[in-house]
């Protein structure tokens, strides 16, 4: 360049590293917190009522550890009340209502969710720790879309199953996790309502708030009392739902450990069951993949929602010829991730959902280091309070390492390598889980060949973590059974005659 100005000198450190500094940094751009109520009650029979015992528990913001509200703690007596209300509503009103009328209620709920989306996504972020960008652009639009989708099915059930009639089941007990609190509530409630069932839903202990705000919407939408009941509490309330004699169906999303307990508990009863459990998905990158988009897919696969995703692409399988370039690009991409205040619109990685989860992540990462894998972790600043974990990946991981086998459920990726497609398939399937998988190659025929051999409920090709209400979701093996979403998502809530 000419004249007085001299080109900036590139300092080459650590064998040429890009410089992601603060020459032009983003100013904080936080959403304003929503004013929450100090106290939240259970939603039973269309009314908000305190727990019979009068007990409450405190729910916090994992990014600050500050208490957000006191929430009623349900026990067996409250669950019993909720199931009775659901049974009454099912028998007297909901199962007898014309399907087109049922659809109107569900449509109304969907529209009201859209109207209140902004408030709901802020609460979701405050209570769960996920970045506002995700709750705003992914969770909330999908929540509304699920209600819209199943509203459409309500009066078309006669055409859903060729030659068969679909009859509702009765009272569905639904227990959901803390990683997508409102979205999981939508996945559970929408198909149950569309098929004419009544619901008792228990949100996760750490994230009860959006479900209770959904209860307010349901009340405002004039849904007949008792059709949807929401009981907040700990594992005790969940167990009470599972063991209640008058529940016809259990739908559970959560850990494999608890899933097994539930399946044992209801063995020999009339209860139908669907389980959506853990995963340790293989994300397979072939040499002929579009590398930059694949790297983006790796990031989206494992660091989306702090890795608190059952279908997260937590086992990266990279073909040996491109290991160096993928590692380098992944590292440079990792360094641009912005960790911090989940309410900031520029935050990519929010807070870990709870102290317990953070401890679990830390102990598994420690085991990875102890067992000899090589850790790559960025060195960003973290807020003083709250639960945080820096985005991390491991190389030199062996299939036998705990970090290659166990679900970490955090922003931690394990990279393994393979030489041939056969080896990739073998490694990908070599896990007790089978929820999801990813395949990256520019070659169409290879996609079909590999995808058909992967034992996973969902296989994404040249993308990852894409969700749509029309697409069924669910697992193989220890990842559970039953499908949610799509036409398949109606099946667990109907009796075919």
């Amino acid at each position: 360049m000419k004249k007085n100005s001299e080109a900036p000198h590139l300092e080459i450190v650590e064998s040429r590293r890009l410089l992601f500094g603060d020459l032009w940094d983003y100013a904080p751009s936080p959403e304003k917190p929503v004013n929450l109520k100090k106290h939240y009650d259970l939603f039973i029979d269309g009314k908000f009522v305190p727990a019979k015992s009068g007990k409450t528990f405190s729910t916090i913001n994992p990014a600050t550890e500050e208490s957000l509200a006191e929430v009623a703690l349900a026990d067996e007596a409250d669950v019993d009340r909720a199931v009775k209300a659901a049974r009454k509503a099912y028998q007297n009103v909901w199962s007898k209502m014309k399907p087109a009328e049922r659809a109107k209620y569900i449509y109304r709920i969907a529209r009201m969710i859209q109207e209140k989306a902004r408030e709901l996504c802020i609460i979701e972020t405050m209570n769960g720790g996920k970045p506002i960008r995700e709750s705003r652009d992914i969770d909330l639009p999908l929540v509304a879309a699920h209600f819209f989708f199943y509203a459409g099915w309500a009066d078309k059930l006669d055409y859903a199953f060729a030659g068969r009639k679909a009859r509702s089941i009765g009272v569905a007990g639904q227990i959901i996790p803390w990683n997508f609190p409102l979205l999981m509530a939508a996945w559970k409630i929408a198909p149950a309502l569309a098929t004419g069932n009544a619901v008792v839903l228990k949100p996760a202990e750490t994230t009860p708030l959006t479900a209770l705000h959904l209860a307010e919407i349901i009340q405002e939408a004039d849904l007949p009392p008792g059709v949807v009941n929401i009981v907040t509490g700990d594992g005790g309330a969940g167990a009470a739902i599972v063991n209640h004699k008058d529940v016809d169906k259990i739908a559970f999303t959560g850990s494999t450990e608890v899933g097994k307990m539930i399946q044992k508990a209801i063995a020999g009863t009339k209860k139908k069951l669907t389980l959506e459990l853990g995963g340790k998905a293989a994300n397979i990158i072939f040499e002929d993949a579009p590398i930059d988009q694949a790297v983006e897919g790796i990031i989206n696969g494992i660091y989306f929602n702090q890795g608190h995703v059952c279908c997260a692409g937590s086992r990266l399988l990279v073909q040996e010829g491109i290991v160096d370039v993928v590692t380098r690009k992944l590292w440079d991409r990792l360094r641009t991730l912005r960790v911090g205040n989940p309410l900031d619109k520029n935050t990519d990685i929010g807070a870990i959902n709870s102290k317990m989860q953070l401890e679990k992540i830390c102990s598994l990462v420690e085991s990875g280091v102890d067992e000899g894998a090589r850790m790559h972790q960025i060195t960003c600043d973290l807020p003083e309070r709250g639960f945080w974990f820096r985005p991390t990946f491991f190389t030199e991981v062996a299939q036998s390492h705990r970090i290659a086998q166990e679900e970490i459920f955090g922003p931690v990726l394990s990279m393994l390598t393979f030489r041939t497609p056969e080896e990739a398939i073998e490694r990908a399937n070599n896990t007790p889980y089978g929820l999801s998988a990813g395949v990256w190659t520019d070659k169409g025929s290879k996609i079909f060949k590999i995808a058909s051999k992967l034992r996973a409920g969902v296989v994404w090709a040249n993308t990852y973590n894409q969700f749509d209400p029309a697409s069924p979701f669910g697992g193989y093996k220890e990842s559970g059974f039953g499908r949610e979403g799509g036409l398949h998502g109606l099946m667990p809530y109907v009796e075919l005659i």
Binding site: L19, W24, D292, K345
Partner: protein, 293 residues
Amino acid sequence: MFQTTIDHVGVEERAAKLGQRSIKAATKVQGIKLALSMIDLTTLEGKDSAGKVRAMCQKAKHPLPGNSEVPHVAAVCVYPNMITVAKQALAGTDINIAAVATGFPSGQYPLDIKLNDVRSAVNLGADEIDMVIDRGAFLSGHLSKVADEIALVKEACGAAHLKVILETAELETYDNIRKASWLSMEAGADFIKTSTGKLSQAATLPITLVMLEAIRDYWYETGKVIGMKPAGGIRTSKDAMKYLVLVKETLGDVWLTPHYFRFGASTLTNDLLMQLTKEMTGMYQSVDYFTVD
């Protein structure tokens, strides 16, 4: 040489996501000033006259008259006939003169005419040459012809910096754009540039992202820092900020200077000035308060 394909869905998603970054307050002011300093203020019309070019050079020197905090632009970009006028108007400043050459915009001229075009522009005082590649040769698979031509033009440039215009709208696919970017850098480009500005489709975020990623990969391999210039279609501050975000998060701070990143634009300047004035005074001014040059 490391090569890869581009998945168009993936790259468009990534560009859109980066385009969502929230740019507020001090970041916005700093970003606007940075963008102003990166502009190649351009007039490339058949009706260009000495008067028009002189007026534009005045704007290039003092984008917002009376405000010394506003930086001058990086360069003015003109046809070879206007180099002398621009040189006089910009005497004593740091502003470069970029001239389009090699039979701009089509490039459909014999090689010796293209090379003479370049030599003459450099002799007249151009600091930077914006050349066009032979898209016909590229699309018919004669890649070495394209590369050889770039290498010869580079030689003809001497000390002047070479920007290679790919005219991405005519290359159409991201794979072609990546291939052409790589080929240009290997053949000696100092900058790669999206468009001539003569077609309705010009720079876009995903196209720029593909080119930035090619620049990054080339740097991984060779350590050479190549510059990037999206041109055409960038008219608002908001757009400009999105491009800066792309640079910041793909290549990092080293590229966040006029030395390695330019905007080829004519109308962008006034929107940047309008937004800057709004940030400084708290209110929007009428467009009539910004000079049209």
